[in-house]
């Protein structure tokens, strides 16, 4: 038995009738489902592969979700998804676990650098509910 037996089949999503509330990210072929909302722990993130790019997907303390690039521009490591999520002056942010810079989850801008160039790419993300029912 391997560790990831309990994880999800990458092919699953609205179309295969699993249903539930699904998180989807905009990609070249339209919306790509990446996981169920329940897979996301409030206040934490996961990494996903979308069109070969690494995306960090987060859930805030409520049901809001964010998606930004997984590459930490300061360390060059793909670790943003493992950062702590919180707020700074009302701005939802994720803190890189490597050298602890904060990034605005809505804009990708780094809150600790003056340089606008140091920003994470932001992906469109949405939460779709009960698509399976429509299919049925």
């Amino acid at each position: 038995m391997t560790a990831y037996d309990t994880a999800y089949d990458p092919a699953y999503g609205a179309a295969d009738g699993i249903g539930g509330t699904v998180v989807e990210i905009a990609s070249a072929d339209g919306w790509t489902p990446v996981c169920r909302l329940d897979d996301l722990i409030p206040g934490r993130g996961v990494a996903a592969l979308v069109d070969g790019a690494q995306v960090a997907v987060f859930r805030g303390l409520g049901d809001e979700v964010y998606a930004v690039g997984n590459l930490d521009p300061f360390s060059g490591a793909y670790v943003i998804s493992r950062g702590i999520v919180g707020s700074r002056g009302g701005v939802p942010m994720v803190m890189s676990p490597m050298y602890k810079e904060a990034f605005d989850l809505r804009t990708g801008l780094c809150l600790d650098a003056d340089d606008e160039a140091v920003a994470l790419p932001v992906y469109q993300v949405r939460v779709q509910t009960a698509v399976a029912a429509e299919v049925g």
């Binding site: 690494q54 702590i84 490597m98």
Partner: protein, 870 residues
């Protein structure tokens, strides 16, 4: 003010004047720093240095024996000399000065012209000319080379004797003792440290030091060193008729100023040595200055301490950069820890002032002696503290200020346990009280920095006033004053944890405990604002975990953890993780070693032995972690909590079982402690060690809590630290039996967990504790706050509810779900985590290697469909 004329400049080619510094010791280096700080553009600086290395910290020379390297002792910041164009000539001492020609000739024969010459040649150890004093095996104690030679010789020696029971002699004796030699101290005066302490203090000191196994011969002179046929020192004959068998002798009978160069060139020198200088530290030749231990100051004294030397250095730096400075005398207060015994003396320690009165507390059972010298009006004139110097930080400035004491002196010498706990704080100090003697900063200046200069915290005040940047002994007092001042200004000293909580960590701990709060959500809803951040979330997670609230990855707690705790592993630079199984006390079976070796081999991990006596395996990806741990757990290993703010390791030496010096089973004790406190979450990491005898091979005194075996029990040290800000641990209690030891550590740890700030190690926590060690002892040994039952119960709960985090994780599919590379493509390894071979193992690939992009920040092409929504 009349000043003698400046040296007539004879400009060098580039128009600058030539400055030659002779001697690159502590004071010489400080002079250079002060000079460039004030702008040394006018000067072309050459330094003649006799020693083979640039200036180093002589005050901490002895730490060389405990592993501090020569490099670490260096006082010259990297790049300092180059940056300021200073020409340092190592190993080329000045051999002669020609004052008429204004030149200095080096031993190399090179001649250096000067417009200004600064002598900082320090002093040399005085060796009494007794027969045999130059035999092999006789040493002095002043340079790194001296210590290297002593260390080498000591390897073949059993017995060592130190001639001289002053400050340095006792330090040297401590070093010999630590190297395992039978150690004797021979002091001519009737007591130890005769200059600093009085008779009562000397007696208390002697008792303490003899307790440590050093034999003291006071009131005895060394008459002859008997030399064996091989030319080595063999015996030492004392004036009291005794003869000691010795293999090694260290002379530490005082120092003499190195004024020979000055003497030979016709400068005025004192009758008893020292280059005579005026208030500006200028010698009898207006182009020549002398500073530090070689100078005879205008008050007729030669100062053998570093702080007065620093003041002289500043004085001359001012003079040479167009300002003016003066040195008219300095405070010679001292506070030291000799062989673990606190000794302090300040002001008129011997009570020689006319009409002065003395208040003495003397307790030979505890080895504590405190004496205050006061006037009839209650003004503090001086004092001696032995065995407990906790009140020195306050008493010294009070003494220097000349103000009437804020409380009766009797109360100031009584220990807290004697029922007269009198807490006079920094507020009792008048404004002109000198707080930092290294930089001559008064309490008033510190207050002004806060009030007028807008300094909002201690680092800002340090930068502004330089207080606390010398020897560092005043930092505690400085911090208290700054905080009092900020509080008085109504600047609510931002004690709050972060923008989400106005409470300190200690306050949050109380709230969580008293109100029985078990979730972050409830805590922030009821007591904070917003949704939390990287500061408060892990801090609260740690509090919840300390109070034994279940597995740290369950439910909401999972979202609070730092990334390391979240994956129960340590994040490394390329996004891979390292894995450290617990190896209690550093004891491991061959089978255990083989299992670790096989796992590392099978997963291709890099292995390294850690400083904490265990094995770290690097290069695991997130999805490999559970697979690795499955095998470790099956083989009986547990999480080592290397990723957590928790107990890390309890190191041990091999102890009585194998070591021929050991007096107790240090390994057994270390294992017991490690198993007891494993998994204990705390404000910061906790490290510990157990040594089997006073030789201290496990370095327990550099740990948060350290235990050293004695023939009758265990000594407990607390608040030690290695790393960036090293601190020697304090002896909390001696000769404890096993039960008392465990109970005391239980309470120490729980009291720390309960009251420390976030990310505050035990060293600063102990350091800032009001009332110091006495207070700590009162709380956890005499239950002065009535909280011991509570502390005991909390620890009991921890011990009973401990479970191995990794076992509990691999047994639970829910917890395992997070250990995937990609949520929508588990099993696809992260292609960006790559390694290359090095020295037969792997290491993370660097940019440009193994398909990694060359640069990182901003240069990696983003995905095509990215949308900036700003």
């Amino acid at each position: 003010m009349i000043k003698s004329s400046s040296p007539s400049p004879e400009p060098v080619a580039d128009g600058r004047k030539r400055l030659v510094l002779v001697g690159h010791g502590m004071v010489g280096q400080r002079f250079l720093e002060a000079l460039v700080e004030r702008g040394a553009a006018d000067w072309q600086v050459t330094v003649l240095c006799e020693e083979p290395r640039a200036a180093y910290d002589r005050v901490h020379l002895t730490s060389y024996f405990s592993g501090t390297s020569a490099d670490e002792l260096s006082m010259v910041p990297a790049g300092f000399l180059d940056e300021h164009g200073i020409d340092l000539r190592l190993g080329d001492p000045a051999a002669a000065i020609d004052r008429a020609a204004r030149t200095v000739t080096g031993r190399s024969g090179e001649v250096f012209g000067y417009d200004a010459l600064v002598l900082a040649t320090g002093s040399y150890p005085f060796v009494p000319p007794v027969p045999g004093h130059d035999a092999d095996g006789c040493f002095v104690y002043r340079t790194i080379e001296d210590l290297e030679a002593i260390e080498e010789w000591a390897k073949g020696a059993r017995t060592g004797a130190v001639v001289g029971g002053g400050l340095l002699g006792l330090e040297a004796a401590g070093a010999l003792k630590a190297m395992g030699l039978d150690t004797h101290v021979v002091e001519f005066a009737p007591r130890l440290m005769a200059i600093q302490v009085d008779e009562g203090g000397g007696a208390a000191l002697r008792r303490k030091i003899e307790e440590l196994g050093v034999t003291v011969h006071a009131g005895a002179g060394t008459q002859e060193i008997g030399v064996g046929a091989d030319g080595r020192a063999a015996t030492m004959a004392l004036s009291n008729g005794e003869t000691l068998d010795v293999d090694l002798v260290i002379f530490s009978a005082g120092v003499r100023p190195r004024d020979q160069l000055a003497r030979e060139s016709g400068l005025d020198v004192g009758e008893r040595g020292g280059i005579a200088v005026d208030e500006n530290c200028r010698t009898s030749d207006p182009s020549i200055w002398a500073i530090g231990e070689c100078a005879l100051a205008s008050d007729g004294r030669v100062y053998g301490l570093v702080a007065p030397g620093y003041q002289m250095a500043e004085t001359v730096a001012h003079e040479l950069t167009g300002g003016s400075g003066s040195f008219t005398g300095a405070d010679t207060s001292t506070k030291l820890k000799l062989l673990g015994v606190d000794v302090a003396s300040f002001g008129d320690a011997h009570g020689t002032s006319e009409g002065c009165l003395e208040v003495v507390y003397s307790n030979s059972r505890e080895g504590v002696y405190k004496k205050l010298v006061v006037t009839a009006e209650g003004v503090l004139l001086g004092g001696v503290l032995v065995g407990d110097a906790g009140s020195y930080d306050l008493l010294r400035p009070l003494c220097l200020s000349g103000a009437v004491l804020p409380a009766p002196p009797e109360q100031l010498v009584l220990p807290e346990s004697a029922g007269a706990p009198i807490a006079i704080g920094a507020s009792a100090l008048p404004d002109d009280a000198l707080v930092c003697s290294c930089h001559n900063v008064t309490k008033g200046k510190i207050r002004a920095a806060v009030n007028d200069e807008g300094c909002a915290d201690v680092p800002a005040v340090k930068k502004c006033t330089r207080a606390g940047t010398g020897c560092g002994s005043c930092v505690k007092m400085l911090t208290t004053i700054v905080q009092d001042e900020l509080a008085a200004n109504g600047v609510e000293v931002a004690k709050g944890l972060c923008e989400h909580f106005e409470h300190t960590r200690a306050e949050l701990f109380e709230i969580v405990q008293v109100r029985g709060i078990t979730s972050f959500r409830r805590l922030i809803e009821e007591h904070g604002t917003g949704s939390g951040c990287d500061i408060c979330k892990p801090a609260v997670a740690s509090i919840l975990a300390s109070l034994a609230n279940g597995h740290i990855l369950d439910g909401e707690q999972a979202s609070l953890q730092d990334t390391n705790d979240h994956f129960l592993a340590n994040l490394q630079r390329n996004g891979s993780y390292s894995v450290v199984p617990r190896i209690p006390g550093g004891e491991i079976t061959p089978e255990g070693l083989i299992v670790i070796g096989e796992i590392a081999r099978d997963f291709g991990l890099y292995t390294k032995i850690t400083g904490g006596q265990r094995i770290d395996m690097f290069g695991a990806s997130v999805d490999q972690l559970p697979l690795i741990w499955k095998r470790l757990v099956d083989a009986g290993f547990e999480s080592g909590h290397a990723y957590g703010k928790a107990l890390r390791t309890v190191k041990s030496c091999v102890g009585e079982t194998w070591c021929r010096y050991g007096v107790q089973d240090s390994v057994g004790m270390a294992i017991e402690l490690e198993l007891r406190y494993r998994g204990l979450r705390s404000p910061h990491k906790l490290k510990s060690a157990v040594s089997g005898c006073a030789r201290e091979c496990a370095e327990a005194q550099s740990k948060d809590f350290g235990v050293i075996a004695t023939s009758t029990g265990w000594n407990l040290y607390v608040g030690g630290n290695g790393g960036m800000t090293p601190r020697h641990a304090d002896l909390l209690a001696a000769d404890l039996d096993r039960e008392t030891l465990l109970r005391t550590i239980d309470r120490f740890l729980m009291f720390y967990i309960r009251t420390a700030d976030r990310l505050e190690r035990t060293a600063p926590w102990v350091e800032r504790m009001e009332g110091g060690l006495d207070h700590l002892r009162a709380v956890i040994m005499d239950d002065s706050l009535g909280i011991c039952d509570d502390l005991d119960e909390l620890m009991q709960r921890h011990v009973e509810t401990y479970e191995d985090e990794w076992r509990a994780t691999i047994e639970d599919p829910e917890r395992l779900r997070r250990f995937v590379s990609f949520v929508n493509a588990p099993g696809t390894p992260d292609p960006t985590v790559t390694f290359v071979p090095e020295r037969d193992q792997i290491r993370p690939a660097k940019p440009g290697e193994e398909g990694l992009p060359l640069a990182t920040a901003g240069l990696i092409a983003g995905p095509t469909l990215e949308v900036r929504t700003s």
